[in-house]
């Protein structure tokens, strides 16, 4: 009888990624509602050492699936590994992060297992014994609630929505799973660092974003300075990217990245629907724009109608002073 929650841990360069801890936190809560325990699966080669950390943050069992063929990521290899772990764990619910890897892996794993998937969820509940997921749809214009009718239920969880699990200082029991994976179809050959480094927009707590009002690529430097003061990642609107002021990797919006920071400060961004789709769940939104009619002022918690080039240096100074207090 399927029970409990299995989370799919994500690791990179020998470290467990934060999303995995968020899944453990959510998983613990849901395991309580569903009945059964909380377990995790970690996949790769030479990753058994990471099991301890998953145990430390609440996984009672850690399924370890290792093989040479899994030494770097592959959707089909990892999907087979998830399926093998799920067969042993027999969970009622599988949670995976809606990170770049998770988006590539979760649907393939769902198809392999033969179950459905609710993607990029911002809430998961148990209602009458069934798993109900809430997720933004139509470019974030409303939420849809879906219920899993097949078992196990499977959901991918948007990063930076749920808090990380607290450390429980227990050791999870390691269960080695031989998934019999000897060859895969598409394996990562190389990984090259790209972008400016620092926290990825999709996982950032604070974001400082520039729009068409920035007028030039060089002018984005003033946002870098502000971002440094408050430990923020710099983003951009599509208009700024299309005008060549910023790289596409910093684009926030429907066709860019979906972000969920605690603080989003938008400079020279008008607030088109497609931009809002990427950032409207931000906890606090600050907008600075010369145009008092800019739609973004309807969604902002705080707004300043003024020239951003006058505002940015003053704001940088004021925040520096405040943080030094």
């Amino acid at each position: 009888m399927a029970s409990g929650v299995l989370i799919v841990a994500e690791h990179r360069e020998g470290k467990i990624r934060k999303i995995s801890l968020e899944l453990l936190g959510l998983g613990k809560k849901l395991a309580g509602n569903l009945g059964g325990g909380l377990s995790a699966v970690i996949i790769g080669k030479g990753v058994e050492g990471l099991a301890a950390e998953l145990g430390k943050f609440g996984a009672e069992k850690v399924f370890v699936v290792e093989a040479d063929a899994l030494s770097t990521y592959s959707a089909d290899g990892y999907a087979a590994a998830v399926a093998a772990a799920a067969k042993q764990a027999d969970p009622a619910l599988i949670l995976i992060g809606s990170s770049s890897q998770g988006k590539d892996l979760a649907p393939r794993a769902a198809a392999k297992i033969g179950t459905g998937l609710a993607s990029d969820c911002v809430d998961v509940m148990v209602d009458g014994g069934k798993v109900v997921c809430k997720r933004p749809v139509y470019s974030g214009k409303c939420f849809a609630k879906t219920v899993a009718v097949a078992s196990p239920a499977m959901a991918s969880i948007r990063p930076n929505v749920f808090p990380a699990a607290e450390a429980v200082n227990a050791a999870g029991a390691v269960v080695k799973v031989d998934a019999g994976i000897s060859a895969v179809k598409a394996k990562v050959k190389e990984v090259h660092a790209a972008g400016s480094g620092g926290v990825d927009l999709t996982e950032a707590e604070r974001i400082v974003s520039g729009g068409r009002g920035m007028k030039a690529k060089e002018k984005f430097k003033i946002l870098d300075d502000l971002a440094k003061v408050i430990g923020a990642t710099v983003g951009a609107s599509r208009a700024a990217v299309d005008s060549g002021y910023a790289d596409v990797s910093s684009q926030v919006g429907q066709t860019g990245k979906v972000v969920n920071p605690t603080l989003y400060i938008a400079f020279g961004i008008s607030g088109a629907i497609q931009h809002l789709a990427g950032m409207r769940t931000s906890k606090v939104i600050v907008a600075v724009n010369k145009d008092p009619e800019a739609p973004i002022f309807q969604k902002a918690d705080y707004g300043i109608v003024d020239d951003l080039f006058k505002v940015v240096p003053i704001m940088t100074e004021e925040l520096k002073k405040m943080l030094a207090e």
Binding site: G116, K141, F143, R206, Y302, G303, V311
Partner: protein
């Protein structure tokens, strides 16, 4: 090379979405339907591949009722050769798995060397169908692909995709399922930011191009595989977004004064600094 583009018709991103009174569906009455923008990029990629690989055949494959034909004609007008329309009452209410099964059956019977999809449909933003199709077909996948370079012999490809702060490179054999992100480089091109417009001659030619209807029986699937009855995930309802309370907008004051007030509020009221 045989190239299949899986295309979905979606509401225009500018559309106002109204939830029905019972909360169980959205009002489809006044919606403008378009080709999913990411599928437009996929169509553009298909056409560029067609240009590079002489003698290629291209198809647009779409599941839906009669209204999707208009968007299929757009793909044909852009230059795609033929259409395959998965049309059957049994398909109605399919979830992503059901849709993936039907599309997979269709592209398999075409003998496609490469299956192109947009990275997500802008109505449900799930990015599930391409990877599901790849698993069903037992093929390599690259989702949210930003770089595609198919070898001259058409048997393998180098593909790249972005992850947080980095880029992954894969070497895969064909056939494969590739979902395309905006700004992809194909066969050494600059990043593709826009799909081509259909020309007037293209639109005229499209009227005569074949769109073949494919029903459930033709796919070899059963009613249990697709439709609402085959769905593993069901929509239980829709919810409006919580309205953000009106914010404090400062204007017509000295710049420094306004900034100081906002920074103070960020600390004392919002408590985010």
């Amino acid at each position: 090379m045989k190239i299949a583009v899986c295309m979905k018709q979606t509401p225009d991103s500018e559309a106002t979405i109204k939830i029905n009174a019972d909360g169980k569906g959205i009002d489809e009455q006044n919606i403008k339907w378009i080709m999913n923008p990411y599928d437009e990029y996929a169509t553009e990629v298909a056409l560029r591949l067609k240009e590079k690989f002489a003698g290629s055949e291209t198809w647009v494959v779409t599941m839906g009722g009669d209204r999707v034909v208009e968007s299929m004609r757009t793909a044909l007008a852009m230059g795609i050769d033929k259409g395959v329309h998965l049309k059957d009452p049994a398909f109605a209410g399919s979830d992503a798995m059901g849709e993936a099964k039907a599309l997979a059956a269709a592209v398999k019977s075409l003998g496609a060397d490469i299956v192109l999809c947009g990275k997500q449909a802008i109505d449900w933003d799930m990015s599930q169908v391409p990877a599901m199709m790849a698993e069903i077909l037992g093929l390599p996948q690259c989702t949210a692909c930003t770089f595609l370079q198919i070898a001259d012999d058409g048997k393998s490809a180098v593909v790249k995709r972005k992850i947080e702060g980095a880029e992954e490179t894969y070497e895969i054999s064909l056939p494969a399922v590739i979902s395309i992100d905006k700004g992809s480089s194909v066969q050494g091109s600059d990043p593709i930011q826009e799909a081509r417009y259909a020309s007037l001659p293209g639109i005229m030619k499209a009227k005569k191009k074949e769109i073949k209807p494919v029903g459930l029986a033709d796919t070899g699937l059963t009613a249990a595989d697709v439709g609402a009855s085959g769905a593993k995930v069901q929509i239980s309802g829709y919810e409006a977004l919580p309205e953000r309370a009106a914010g404090k907008v400062f204007k017509d004051q000295d710049t420094a004064e306004m900034v100081k007030q906002v920074v103070k509020l960020l600390r004392e009221e919002a408590k985010v600094i």
